[in-house]
């Protein structure tokens, strides 16, 4: 069965190029992609997920405000009945060059299942997604 993912760029972030490329890559990999575009609030992610009965939420953040923008997202998902929904995030998540393992730890602590550094190719995220959703390659 085809899996559905919600894709979007969180916060006041308007980076659209990577979003368009990710959409294409995910579609080509067989996913039903619900792309809510740039500048999305946490609520927009959650509403889209509920409406489309999606299996995962893929958050991009490329402008360094990821820490503020994502705070409480896991808890809001839980409240909205999206218990254990897969939450991925990737991009330039923090302001400035920081040690990646620290950044990863911080975002995993916020409830993200997978956290990707800048420059990760779509293939890596797709591979993980298939594994986490139990899709055979």
């Amino acid at each position: 069965m085809q899996k559905t993912v919600v894709l979007g760029v969180i916060g006041a972030d308007c980076h659209a190029v990577g979003n368009k490329i990710l959409e294409r890559a995910l579609s080509e990999a067989g996913f039903n992609v619900v792309n809510i575009g740039v500048m999305c609030s946490q609520e927009e992610f959650i509403n889209a997920t509920i409406e489309t009965n999606a299996d995962a939420i893929l958050v991009s953040s490329l402008y360094g405000h990821g820490e503020i923008d994502c705070r409480g997202l896991r808890e809001k998902c839980d409240e909205a009945g999206l218990k254990n929904i897969l939450l991925y995030i990737g991009g330039n998540l923090v302001v400035g060059k920081q040690d990646w393992s620290d950044v990863e730890k911080r975002f995993k602590g916020m409830g993200f299942n997978r956290v990707y550094p800048p420059g990760t190719s779509p293939e890596i995220g797709i591979r993980d997604l298939k594994r986490d959703l139990g899709i055979e390659d």
Binding site: H15, I21, R24, M39, H65, N92, G96, G119
Partner: protein, 483 residues
């Protein structure tokens, strides 16, 4: 207010102004007369218009970084470092993304958390929250002209505050700070809001104070064909001039092919001057070249290669200034050391090339001709659909896809134009959407892309575009299938 390209009356302006200054408590700190007094005392070496004019006369290219952090003291330290250690010629203040969306409450949270965390939790300087007083602290701590750089569709309050604080330049425009930066803001609104910003500058000009305005040239910074960005730059220049702006810097983002980049800069300057003259505006025009705005290599040495090549192109194109990238570009906001390193590599390249220009071979002449022809096709049609009114024309042209910016997030953008590189790395157009180009021009683009397709032994298509977007991050200009 009805949208048209006409200088606002004082009534119209001051009526809007009351509301603007009430958008956030710091708005009350702006007093036009007091601000004019303050601006009159800005010395020449801290004035954007003056320094740009001098550079243009001397034929040199100035280097300007991007930089901004949340807290005043930290921001001053950063700017002083870029001035003293980085040897910047002009200073910026990059504004954070919440301010760009007028979400000043979130800025307050960011400021508070930055103080707690001991590091900036905002990706720029929230100038509105800091108010005139805070912005003046910054201006007074440095010795170079200062400019606000942002991406704000409604920058009215921001503009009031930064100009009152002695910042003699403001980046942005109704199209260039809306379509690439927002999802839901209508052009009617952003044109009116930027008319306000431009009228404010016009008012200062009428009081004898020279301020610089700079439409944002690179737009989405991703494979934007030169004629599209030049057309928009000229439109924003005309809209600003109508409101009384006298000192304008038009910009262009590096595409990567030397001939095309130099041609685009020359076409932009010449054609803008022609349009200013045609519409009767007396404008002091300068130019800005943006180093590569797309994906960067992670490796810092490779990033220096990209930065230096952008600097060399800026110098050869005779740009008045160049906006500098840093070796940390691929990983996010740079440290001050990395930022300074980017400026130093840039200035070294600029200085080595000082006085050197690219002579005019046939190829360059032809590329200039092509870009001007395409730009004119677009501008003619914008005026036509606006029935002679440029502001109305812009709104209609975006609705109709006559103006269409590749990869822009705005829902008011058609998004039908698809660019790709030709075999020499010049940006051409694969799908024209509703761009009002002649058949001859379209056939020419097509033939260049077919040449590439034959060379790469694959079909013309979206994969070329994806490959081109990722190419520089991988070290190349053209995204070949085998890289």
């Amino acid at each position: 207010m009805e949208l048209k390209n006409k200088k606002w009356t004082e009534d119209e302006f001051f009526k809007a102004r009351e509301e603007v200054l009430n958008q956030w408590p710091t708005g009350k700190g702006v007093n036009l007369e007091e601000a004019a007094e303050y601006l009159r005392k800005v010395p020449e070496h801290k004035s954007f218009p003056f320094k740009l004019k001098k550079a243009k006369e001397q034929g040199i290219t100035l280097a300007q970084p991007r930089a901004g952090v949340a807290l005043i003291e930290d921001h001053i330290n950063l700017l002083k470092y870029l001035q003293d250690e980085g040897e910047a010629d002009l200073l910026p203040t990059t504004i954070d993304s919440y301010t760009r969306q007028n979400r000043y409450k979130e800025c307050e949270i960011g400021l508070e958390e930055s103080r707690k965390a001991g590091r900036s939790m905002l990706n720029g300087f929230p100038a509105v929250n800091h108010g005139v007083e805070g912005c003046r602290k910054v201006f007074e701590a440095i010795d170079l002209p200062l400019q606000a750089r942002h991406g704000t569709p409604d920058a009215r309050l921001l503009s009031e505050i930064i100009h009152a604080a002695g910042w003699t330049s403001n980046e942005g425009g109704a199209i260039s700070y809306n379509i690439p930066y927002a999802k839901n803001v209508s052009l009617e609104k952003s044109i009116l809001d930027w008319q306000y910003c431009d009228r404010l500058v016009g008012l200062y000009e009428e009081m004898g104070i020279s301020l610089n305005r700079e439409p944002f040239g690179p737009l989405t910074g991703t494979l934007v064909p030169p004629s599209i960005s030049n057309a928009i730059a000229i439109i924003e220049g005309l809209l600003a001039a109508e409101q009384g702006v006298k000192n304008i810097t038009l910009g262009y983002g590096q595409c990567g092919n030397l001939i095309q980049d130099v041609a685009a800069m020359k076409a932009l300057e010449e054609q803008a001057n022609e349009y200013f003259k045609e519409y009767g505006y007396d404008v002091e025009l300068t130019t800005v070249f943006h180093q590569w705005m797309g994906g960067f290599p992670q490796d810092e040495a490779k990033a220096f290669g990209v930065i230096s090549w952008g600097s060399a192109t800026a110098a050869l194109a005779g740009a008045t200034k160049v906006i500098v990238k840093t070796p940390h570009e691929a990983v996010g906001i740079p440290t001050k050391e990395a930022n300074a390193a980017g400026i130093k590599a840039t200035k070294q390249t600029l200085n080595l090339l000082r006085g050197q220009r690219l002579p005019m071979p046939k190829e360059l002449e032809e590329e200039i001709k092509l870009i001007k022809m395409e730009t004119k096709c677009i501008l003619d049609k914008v005026f036509e659909v606006g029935k002679g009114d440029l502001a109305v024309g812009v709104v209609k042209a975006f609705e109709m896809g006559i103006l269409d910016i590749p990869f822009a997030p705005s829902k008011f953008n058609a998004g039908k134009v698809l660019p790709a590189r030709d075999n020499n790395g010049a940006v051409r157009i694969l799908e024209f959407g509703n761009l009002p180009f002649t058949k001859e021009i379209k056939d020419f683009h097509r033939s260049l892309l077919e040449e590439r397709a034959r060379y790469e032994k694959r079909k013309i298509g979206f994969q070329m575009v994806v490959d081109d977007i990722n190419a520089v991050g991988k070290g190349f200009l053209v995204g070949r299938p085998n890289y």
